[in-house]
């Protein structure tokens, strides 16, 4: 276990740029922009004036969700490129033989990469996303305090909002990582075999498989096959009614209506988890392990440094 943890740690060190330094830079830029926006008056006109007076707390919820969405996009892209590149990094860095001189199996090494991709790497980005929320809330609350629209009660409400939204983002992150685990494993396995070509291959793979079914089994066109329908379902982002409903209500609220119920993180998280197809997640975990095993066998046999 100690060796496995160390292997995940080396993944973090190797990809610190994408998963820590890059987000830190983004965070610094975001913080700077927020400070600037609230201090030079641009946001003051639109938000901290009438809007904050009418529906201030909705702004926090929507703002944090917006941040969470932006960070999710960043994470999705970096994780894809991590899997497509990180699994081939030992070969690219000419370090394959060094790691093979260590008493760890190729399976353990590749599994540590996949485990890092669903634990510490997104965990660090999530931590920074939470921090970005704190910074945004802090600056917004300070501005509200200055213009006299905030109170101690508001601070408590903001903390509650922060906790609810953070809980939902965390649950959604876990759900997404579980849901897309087989995709990450497949991209990583392809990368272990063919390096960076995994990027175009992984993007083309659904079309290729669907076309193969269309060619061999027939159908209207390559995008009207069972394979395509399954992949569409399997690659779609898991969604819940709760979040959609709340968003619809929130949009109305920002137009001037009051009385929108606060976002309930526990209820939303519960719905996120309930909406998941757990059988598919189970199958996906088995598929991911199989893909990593096959890739490790390839890596064990092919010794090109």
């Amino acid at each position: 276990m100690k060796a496995f943890t160390a292997l995940m740690h080396r993944e973090f060190i190797e990809h610190k740029g994408a998963f820590f330094l890059g987000p830190m830079l983004l965070l610094a830029v975001l913080f700077g922009l927020t400070i600037l926006a609230f201090t030079v008056g641009r946001v003051d006109v639109h938000l901290s004036g009438a809007l904050f007076t009418v529906a201030p707390l909705i702004i926090y919820e929507m703002g944090f969700f917006g941040l969470g969405f932006a960070w999710s996009l960043y994470l999705a892209v970096t994780l894809f490129f991590y899997c497509a590149d990180g699994f081939a990094a030992d070969k690219r860095n000419n370090a394959m033989l060094f790691w093979k001189s260590m008493p760890v199996t190729d399976f353990k090494i590749l599994l540590s990469k996949l485990t890092a991709a669903v634990t510490i790497l997104p965990g660090v980005v999530f931590g920074l996303a939470l921090l970005s929320g704190v910074l945004l809330f802090g600056v917004a609350f300070a501005t509200m305090s200055i213009n006299g629209t905030a109170s101690v009660g508001t601070l408590g409400a903001i903390a509650g909002i922060y906790g609810n939204v953070a809980l939902t983002l965390f649950t959604a992150l876990i759900a997404a990582l579980l849901w897309y685990l087989p995709v990450m494993a497949l991209v990583g396995a392809i990368a272990a075999a063919i390096g960076r070509w995994a990027i175009p291959i992984a993007l083309l793979l659904p079309t290729l498989i669907s076309t193969l079914e269309w060619v061999t089994l027939g159908g209207l066109h390559p995008f009207a096959t069972n394979t395509w329908r399954f992949l569409q379902y399997r690659l779609a982002v898991p969604q819940t009614d709760y979040v959609d409903t709340w968003f619809a209500a929130a949009e109305t609220a920002t137009s001037g209506r009051l009385g929108v119920p606060r976002f309930d993180g526990v209820a939303a998280s519960g719905e996120v988890l309930a909406s998941l197809d757990w059988a598919q997640i189970g199958i996906g975990i088995v598929f991911a392990l199989a893909a990593i095993y096959l890739a490790s066998e390839y890596r064990r046999r092919v010794n090109d440094n």
């Binding site: 060796a3 943890t5 160390a6 740690h9 790691w99 001189s101 064990r300 440094n305």
Partner: protein, 304 residues
Amino acid sequence: MNELTLDPAPPSGEPIVSARGLRKSFGRKEVLHGLDFDIPAGRIYGLIGHNGAGKTTALNAMLGLTDCQGTIRVLGEDPFARRAKLMENVAFISDVASLPRFLRVRELFALLSNIHPNFSQDKARGFLEGTDIKPEMKVKHLSKGMIAQLHLAVVMAIDAKLLVLDEPTLGLDITYRKRFYRRLLEDYMTEERTLLITTHQVDEIEFMLSDIMFIRDGDLVLHMQMETVNDKFTQLVVTDPAQLASARALKPVFEETRFGQTVLIFDGVPRAQLEPLGALSTPTLSDLFVALMQRPTANAEPAR
């Protein structure tokens, strides 16, 4: 197989490496043609051969990096099936700079102390004392020589029974090379450890070898203790052309002309018989290499 084999000193126990009928093919080309050898414990072996002779393939087979036909056991284990387990007691430096370049020296040591049960961070630090390598330096910022020093410190800090070095000093200047081997002998070698080295700079490792293996086109052509090499092979320098015919009659394994003198190498011919014909000496490893490893297709002037 044209192998000149004398039994090495009988091993005290099980050999560290044992190969029987070791074959390896890449596609249709067979690069190892059924090697048979044992490497006992506590020896320093030199595995020597031309480029493409099969040295690295043989090493890869020993290290479990490639699957082969035949049987090979290292420390009693099948290396390909049990590489990870085997690497607890085997350390190696490959012929390419393979240290992870993104790590700092201290990060490398910290990771290794968690990954390798027999790695000592204190020992590794100790080996780097007196060098220009500092813990905060990134591997990618080190010079080639410093990377070699660092890699050597890493493998010497592993309490391994077998250390395999595949062209460990490739691209290094003579100072680094000499320091590298001196360090290895002084700070690492013990009676319990076995060292296997491949290099093209055979003269530089000759002084430390206890045994040699010459590999040519996938065949083992010589496997012998160095003392036996000294007894078995004799180099004769003939300055008097009148003696040349007599010398050739004793069937040298190699002959060449150097600065007007004829140099001949004999295998198993008593020195007393050669003494009247010219000046005798023990051939250096590189002379022996040239003598025994000539390939008709690769040499315009084959041995007579």
